[in-house]
Amino acid sequence: MSSPAEAPGARAHGPASLAVQDLVAGYGGVLALDSVTITADAGTITTVLGANGAGKTTLLRVISGMVRPRSGRVLVDGADRAGRSPEDLARAGIVHVPEGQGVIAELTVEENLRLGMMCWPGIAQLRRPGRRAERAAALAEAYERFSVLADRRQKLASTLSGGERQMLVIARALVARPRVLLLDEPSLGLAPRIMTQVMDMVVRLSRENGITIVLVEQNARAALAIADHGVVLNLGRVVAAADARALAADVALRHHYLGF
C-alpha cells in the first residue's frame, strides 16, 4: 500500500496532487458516493459543491480515512491511500477539518495550535533540541499572522467567537503544514463579513503556503469566487466538473444544483 520509497516517519514536502477514482462508499444500506472520480492538481483550490446529502462530506471522510470506501482509489501524488487510518493519513500530510469540529473547545488556543504539530513527520523525536525551536517558530509564525489569537493564547477555545474560531482553524491548518487540506464548510454559521475573511485566509493558504485545498461549501458563490476548479455532486454522483469560472458562468447549472 505504501510506495517503496517511503520510510516510516518520512514525508515529502510541498503540495500534493489528489485524485479519487471510481470511489464507492456508503453507510449501511445507503450509498453516499456512487463511482465518483475527481482530480485536484497540486497547489490548487478545488471546491466541491452540491445540496445536502449529495455526498460532499462523505467524500472528505473517505479521503481522510474516517470512512472506508467499498471500492475505488484515493491517489495522493499517485500513491493509493484508500483505507489507511486517519492518524496515518494525517501524518502523511492529509489534514481534514470536519464541519463544525475544527478546534477542541476544551483546550486553549495555544494547545489547539500544538495539536497541529502532532502530525509533523518524525513526531516521535520530540526530544531533539532542534524540535523545540521549530515548534516555537511555528507558533510565533501563527501568532504573527493572526494577532487576535496571540492575545488569546491561554484562553479556552470555547471563549472565541465564531470568526475567531475559524481563524484558529486556519492557523492550526497552517501549523500542521499539510500537503492536502480538506475543509468542510469553514464558513458555516459565520456572518458575511467574517465569511469573506475566512475565504481570504483560505486563498492565502493556497497561494502563499502552497497547499492543495479541497473545499466543501454550501455558499457556492463565495467558493467559486476563490477556487480554481469546481465539482458539483448530486446524490453521490459527479454532475459537473470544470474550471471554477466556467461553472460560475453556467447559469442553468447554478440554478439547478447550486441555488443561485
Binding site: 492518524e87 489534514v95 476544551e106 494547545e111 502532532m118
Partner: protein, 292 residues
C-alpha cells in the same frame, strides 16, 4: 471538639485512598466512556503480587514498586486484550466483560492464595501520632498514604497539563475524532490511560490493605466507596475525584466515629443518592457538550 478533629484527620487517609480509586475510574471514563468494574479486583491482585514479593525478598519497598509496575502492566494488558475487542460493539459488552474480569481475578486469587485474611505490612509505624499529649487520630503510615496519593496525583496533573503526551491524552478524551485527524494515535493513548489507572489502583491496594487485610474480596467495598467518590465529584472531573474522595472519607469517618462503623456503608449510599438527585452530573462537573 478534639474527637471531631481526630475523626476528620483520620478520615483523610482513607479518603485519599478512595480518591485514588476514583481517579482511576475517572481516567478510564474520560478516555473510553467505560466504568471499569474490575478496578478493585485488579488492585487486589497486584497487592497479592506485592505480598508475594515481600515474603520472598523481605523488602516492603520491593513489593511496593513491583505492585505499581504490575498495576501498569495489568492495566495495559486489560485494555488491549479484554476491552479493545468490545470497541464498536454494544456498550453492554464492555460492562459485562469488566465484571467478568473481576470475577476471574477474584477466583484466581482464591485459587492461588486461598480465602483467608492475610495481614499486609506497613512501611511506617501505624501507632497514633500525638500533638503533645493529645492523640491526633492519624499515624505515620496515614501521613505516608496521604503523601503518596497526593504526590502521584500532582505528578499526573502536571503531566497532563504540561507535557505533549498529556496534551494528546486530553485531546483524545475531549474529541477523539479531531485527535485522530490531528495524527494522534488514539488507540495507544487509551492503552496508556488504562495503564495509569492500573497504577493508581495498585497504589490504593497496597495503601489500604494493612487496614482491611488482604483477601480476594478485600477491595470490593473500597471499589464501591471509590466509585461513589467519583460519581460525587463528577465522572469527568479528576479534581472532583480527589475532592469527592476526601469528602467521603472524612464524612464516613466522622459518622462512623459517632454512630458506629455499621452505619458507614449506609451513609455512603445515602450521600450517593442525594448527589444523584440534586446534581446528577456530580458536584464538579462543568456543563459540557460532548459531540457524538
Amino acid at each position: 471538639m478534639v474527637e471531631f478533629l481526630q475523626f476528620t484527620l483520620g478520615g483523610i487517609s482513607f479518603g485519599l485512598i478512595y480518591a485514588a480509586i476514583a481517579l482511576s475510574l475517572v481516567l478510564i471514563w474520560r478516555g473510553t466512556r467505560l466504568l471499569n468494574f474490575a478496578q478493585g479486583g485488579m488492585a487486589m491482585f497486584t497487592t497479592f503480587i506485592a505480598l508475594e514479593v515481600i515474603y520472598r525478598t523481605g523488602s516492603y519497598w520491593a513489593g511496593f514498586v513491583v505492585a505499581l509496575a504490575a498495576g501498569i502492566v495489568l492495566g495495559a494488558v486489560t485494555e488491549l486484550a479484554v476491552i479493545r475487542p468490545t470497541l464498536g460493539k454494544p456498550e453492554l459488552n464492555a460492562v459485562i466483560v469488566t465484571i467478568g474480569l473481576l470475577i476471574l481475578l477474584e477466583g484466581l486469587a482464591g485459587i492461588f492464595y486461598g480465602g483467608q485474611f492475610r495481614s499486609f505490612p506497613t512501611a511506617f509505624s501505624d501507632i497514633g501520632l500525638r500533638a503533645g499529649s493529645t492523640p491526633l487520630g492519624v499515624s505515620r503510615f496515614d501521613v505516608f498514604v496521604a503523601a503518596a496519593v497526593l504526590a502521584i496525583t500532582l505528578l499526573l496533573a502536571v503531566g497532563f497539563r504540561y507535557t505533549s503526551a498529556g496534551l494528546r491524552m486530553r485531546a483524545a478524551a475531549f474529541n477523539a475524532t479531531v485527535a485522530r485527524l490531528s495524527g494522534i494515535r488514539v488507540a495507544r493513548v487509551i492503552t496508556v490511560g488504562w495503564a495509569l489507572a492500573g497504577l493508581l489502583g495498585a497504589l490504593a491496594g497496597v495503601l489500604v490493605s494493612p487496614s482491611t487485610f488482604l483477601y480476594p474480596n478485600s477491595m470490593d467495598s473500597i471499589f464501591v466507596f471509590g466509585f461513589t467518590a467519583a460519581v460525587i465529584g463528577g465522572l469527568d472531573s479528576p479534581v472532583g475525584a480527589v475532592i469527592g474522595g476526601l469528602l467521603l472519607g472524612v464524612v464516613l469517618n466522622i459518622a462512623g466515629g459517632y454512630l458506629g462503623a455499621d452505619v458507614t456503608a449506609l451513609i455512603a449510599l445515602g450521600i450517593l443518592v442525594v448527589v444523584l438527585m440534586i446534581r446528577p452530573a456530580g458536584l464538579f462537573a462543568g456543563a459540557r457538550v460532548r459531540r457524538v
